[in-house]
């Protein structure tokens, strides 16, 4: 066995934040984090069997609304993307489109074993195995399928993470876009593109890192076609 201490450890340091002059800035940040953790609108992308566990978690038996969690139907208003089950290659395209339309801070939860490692679809040629290779997943809720208690337990863990401000994987998507795009291109082919300008957003919000752009984003720019509005035609 190789010596564990020889494995190189890569630590990333957070960029020092700009000096904040407002004495109440800390209090304000805490309030915002509290609000973000206590008000979570979830977009449940029901891909598989895990979806069946969500209605009991939302309705009278377990009632997620007492924790401030509500279902929302459009990505523009959602905070959490719930992927509940196996992700086929075709589905994954839609999930990525949906994820990129959500306003950050945004969180992804993978429910069921299938999102962790492919689960019982491990040998399927048409199924994406690990969701976290394509999207920055905050939390996995393993199980086949996890019961509503487990789903709520996972939500509470996410709440604690948001409130402490420790984990912010949504920034990772902007900072290491090249890595995620590479995995996406590996699955969908080189001409894969989405309508959302992720690099532009990363630069606009100051989240661009050294790994935002790379060889895969160059491939993207090579194949990228400008978005054209469909012509309205009446037959």
């Amino acid at each position: 066995m190789s010596d564990l201490s020889k494995i190189p450890i890569h630590t990333e340091k957070h960029a020092p934040e700009e000096a904040r002059t407002n004495p109440l800035a800390g209090v304000f940040d805490e309030l915002v984090r509290f609000a973000q953790s206590r008000s979570m609108y979830m977009l449940h992308y029901c891909t598989g069997c895990g979806a069946i566990e969500l209605p009991p978690a939302m309705t009278s038996r377990f009632d997620m609304e007492r924790l401030g969690i509500q279902p929302m139907v459009t990505p523009r208003q959602a905070d959490i993307l719930l992927v509940t089950g196996y992700v086929s290659v075709k589905t994954l395209k839609r999930i990525i489109l949906t994820y990129e339309q959500m306003p950050s801070p945004k969180y992804v939860i993978g429910i069921c074993s299938c999102t962790v490692n492919g689960g019982m679809y491990w040998q399927s040629y048409a199924t994406a195995k690990k969701l976290s290779e394509y999207l920055p997943v905050d939390l996995y809720i393993a199980g086949c399928m996890p019961r509503p208690e487990a789903v709520i337990e996972g939500m509470r863990a996410l709440m604690a993470n948001i409130q402490s401000g420790e984990t912010e994987p949504w920034k990772d998507y902007y900072q290491r876009y090249d890595y995620y795009l590479g995995n996406q291109q590996h699955l969908f082919g080189d001409n894969w593109q989405t309508p959302t300008d992720v690099i532009g957003q990363a630069q606009h919000y100051g989240l661009a890192g050294p790994e935002t752009e790379g060889e895969h984003t160059r491939i993207l720019q090579q194949y990228q076609q400008p978005l054209v509005a469909h012509k309205l035609r009446l037959k």
Binding site: D63, E65, R66, G68, Y205, A229
Partner: protein
């Protein structure tokens, strides 16, 4: 002194409206939860939701009209609040009157239509066209009710109506048919369940709100607070004699808003054309009969 009081009223009234509106949203969600045998949201949930939406990092704007639409939606109600007399604060109610108020109440829907139009999302366009049709449906009985009440009291001044009602008795007892038609129109105006096809979450992804995220949605949440408050206060002023002091005023407006909520969460929804048919038949009929009784 007079000017100072007016300016203070204009600043204070929307703030009071917003705070009361937050409680109304809480009540709405609690009633829904109780009817479905759930616990429901915590006490500060409506405020927390608004803070969360305003703290979003990414803001997706679809253009200038999209921004202006939200400002019109909130601004229309902000202007309307200064025309609604509450105990101790009259604001501009003696200058504006009920006709100006009726116009102000249409601004939010039109602003939203402008904003949603620029989003170019087909779901949004379907939603807002349904919303404007719904506005056409409930505005006819609403205008009839307003006309009848104004005719009965011989004035369009809301604070004068209140003092007249406190002298002669509530409008709901003098004009029961108009009060009934008004309650019907109120249900449509709040966009609650039998008449909420234009939001239709599962089919057209909440309709007009489909492209609103972050601060835009926060603005719409603020608008919802104002909307509930305005509906409650307007009905109380027209039919329940306004308020002599804050306690009975608050009881009245919360009761008025609670009635449509109770009806709402036990009903499925009507299609747009059915809503139009229903709204132009029964409340209009009741309203016209009510006017006939008031006139003769």
């Amino acid at each position: 002194m007079e000017i100072g009081k007016r300016i203070a009223d204009i600043i204070l009234m929307p703030i009071v409206a917003f705070v009361i509106g937050l409680f109304m949203v809480l009540m709405l969600r609690k009633i829904a939860a109780k009817l479905q045998r759930r616990v429901g949201p915590p006490f500060f949930q409506p405020l927390i939701d608004i803070i969360k939406f305003y703290s979003k990092t990414t803001q997706v704007s679809h253009g200038l009209l999209h921004d202006i639409g939200i400002i019109m939606a909130v601004g229309g109600y902000l202007a309307a609040e200064s025309l609604l007399p509450v105990p101790g604060m009259d604001g501009l109610s003696d200058k504006g009157g009920i006709i100006t108020l009726t116009y102000f109440l249409m601004i939010p829907s039109l602003g939203l239509a402008l904003g949603v139009g620029q989003c170019a999302n087909p779901n949004g366009s379907i939603g807002i066209s349904r919303a404007l049709t719904a506005m056409l449906a409930y505005d006819i009985p609403f205008v009839i009710v307003i006309f009848g009440v104004a005719w009965h009291y011989g004035t369009t001044d809301l604070s004068e109506m209140i003092s007249l009602q406190q002298a002669q008795g509530w409008g709901a007892f003098e004009m029961p048919l108009l009060a009934l038609a008004g309650l019907f129109a109120l249900q449509g105006m709040m966009g609650k369940q039998p008449f909420e096809i234009y939001v239709a979450p599962a089919e057209i992804a909440t309709g007009p709100m489909v492209e609103m995220g972050g601060k835009y949605m926060g603005g719409l949440f603020v608008m919802q607070c104002f909307q509930l408050y305005t509906a409650g206060v307007l009905y109380t002023t027209l039919f329940l004699g306004g308020g002599t002091h804050w306690l009975d005023f608050l009881i009245k407006i919360f009761a008025v808003v609670a009635i449509p909520m109770m009806i709402a969460f036990t009903f499925p929804r009507y299609r747009t054309e059915d809503m139009l048919r229903l709204m132009w038949k029964w409340p209009v009929l009741a309203g016209l009969l009510g006017i006939a009784f008031v006139m003769y």
